[in-house]
Subunit: 329 residues, 2 copies
């Protein structure tokens, strides 16, 4: 497929062929900038996130297409966490000349199709190690973004799904790779216990919870964040931004996977949404009406801004640190 | 100052302190996404560009603040080339833990102040080598973006200033560094001929030509591109997109610097604008009225789409290739 070393101009033309074409009134890839229709009403949402090989993704364990999927999903998750949905993506890829851009863009295109997000531009460059920087725009169908800072004492804290699957999937991949020795990902996948497949999929192809975020916003969520650094840390981020305490009754483990409580508390990159709401019945009804998975109530916000409690004890500290662990080349 | 290895959360807070604060109705750095006002009318412009240490910038020759300035300017130049102006920037920085983020953001903040562009978000990550990916939004005050593809036979080709200064500045820096041996940038700067200072400034701090692009658009420019790959190549890009030939009468050398014709033809990163217009008198009048430097007519578009002529002979081929030339660490 296409390689970064093969000439930027030719590579851009081939990438364009992998992606949808713009409507007649818009300019996407190929000019100095894209020109698109802004959101018809309400604010424009903007976010950007990096995915760096060896820090966020280990290419000995997942594919280049998975890295592309993830680079889009983590940005779309930022839109979801505001109660918004994505509109456009700009994709910058810096990597070695031998990088298989076709495989990378297969994952990018699949994610953008899933989230109905258009790749409208970007850049390519040589670099020693693969880095993908994506920026996205989005809109708020509800007209008002849900910030991290709006939670009030008494609000319920809700997550959109069980946590820890991505961390459990990574652990399964690492275990299989170690057991397999030098055979790496392919042989490792065969050695993985069948029950871990769903967790591995959650690690390889995390899903941004766009519909869930919009329904949470529509039912009056007062604060929202995506769980990318682990529940223990992201609960703290929301509580600190809002100036509230938290009293949690449960750690939501994913019912489909063999996930430890430690993975759910400290594992990163689940990309479920955590939100606060005064009306949990309205939330449960709306999620059911929309055919979404039932959200999980994990506790309540309290008036003491220093309080961080789980099942009557202190909420453990810690979180997901994206490591700098270069793979041998 | 701040270092990427010092904890992403703390680093983001310190970067925020270096940058302007949002108006009351907007959210910038610190939540999952920024929420800003979209352009009041017309299209939303979007672009993203990478600056990679060792490919686009040699940190033995220029400073981290220069790299930050450049990362913003190359993106703003994309807005200018559409006849637009920038609104917001998202800044992703991947780099080694010892990266001086304070110095980098000094240059980013200076450029954003120059161009009246707000840094509203971004990301930080560890990586082996510094990569800065910036995405910008913009608006078209004229309501209509100027594409590369609108030039017609008979249109005049105009550039907004002399070319080759950045390439001449880079050559002066390289010459000084070589003459100085291991002393590098500081000693090298002292050895530079005084007349080369303006060229070195053009290389270190390229200026995006936002006002010029808006005036060109307002006076009916039919096609526009920024000269980032060298005049010989970017003239071809515009001609190919428009399906016209070009018959050039001159290569515009910068009057203030000692620049060779080769540097002007093939040197990259001048970020002057090249545009086509049917009414060159209107252009010259408007630039004078606005107090802008007089633009330079370099030739005309022709009906033969294969024609590429300079002073009666063939337009030389070639252009600026951003090299992958890692500096020793």
């Amino acid at each position: 497929m296409d390689h970064i070393g093969g000439g930027e101009w030719a590579a851009i033309e081939r990438i364009r062929a992998l992606l949808p074409s713009p409507p007649a009134n818009e300019i996407w890839i190929g000019d100095d900038a894209a020109a698109v229709a802004p959101p018809p009403a309400g604010p424009l949402l903007l976010a950007a996130d990096l995915v760096v090989e060896g820090v966020h993704v280990d290419l000995a364990l997942v594919g280049l297409d998975d890295l592309g999927w993830k680079a889009i999903s983590v940005n779309v998750s930022d839109m979801a966490a505001m109660g918004g949905r994505p509109l456009h993506a700009l994709v910058c890829v810096a990597g070695p000349p031998e990088t298989d851009l076709g495989l990378l863009y297969t994952g990018i295109a699949a994610a953008c199709q899933e989230y109905r997000c258009a790749v409208v531009g970007g850049d390519l460059s040589n670099a020693e190690r693969l880095t993908v920087a994506v920026a996205v725009t989005g809109e708020c169908p509800g007209g008002r973004p849900v910030l991290r800072s709006g939670a009030r004492p008494g609000d319920y804290l809700v997550v959109t799904g069980g946590l820890g699957r991505s961390a459990a999937g990574l652990a399964a991949l690492l275990h299989a790779a170690t057991a397999d020795g030098a055979d790496g990902a392919t042989g490792g996948a065969a050695a993985v216990a069948a029950g871990a497949e769903a967790n591995i999929d959650a690690h390889r192809r995390p899903r941004a919870r766009v519909s869930e975020g919009m329904v949470a916003a529509a039912t009056g969520a007062t604060a929202m964040i995506d769980v990318s650094d682990g529940m223990a840390m992201d609960v703290r981020h929301l509580a600190e931004a809002s100036g509230v305490g938290v009293d949690l009754s449960t750690v939501p483990l994913d019912p489909f996977g063999s996930v430890t409580e430690e993975q759910a508390l400290f594992g990163g990159e689940d990309y479920e949404l955590l939100f606060a709401t005064p009306d949990v019945d309205a939330v449960l009804d709306a999620f059911a009406t929309e055919g979404l998975r039932a959200p999980i109530v994990i506790g309540r916000c309290t008036a003491d801004p220093a309080q961080r409690r789980l099942r009557g004890g202190p909420l453990p500290e810690g979180g997901w640190e994206h490591r700098w662990a270069p793979a041998p080349r």
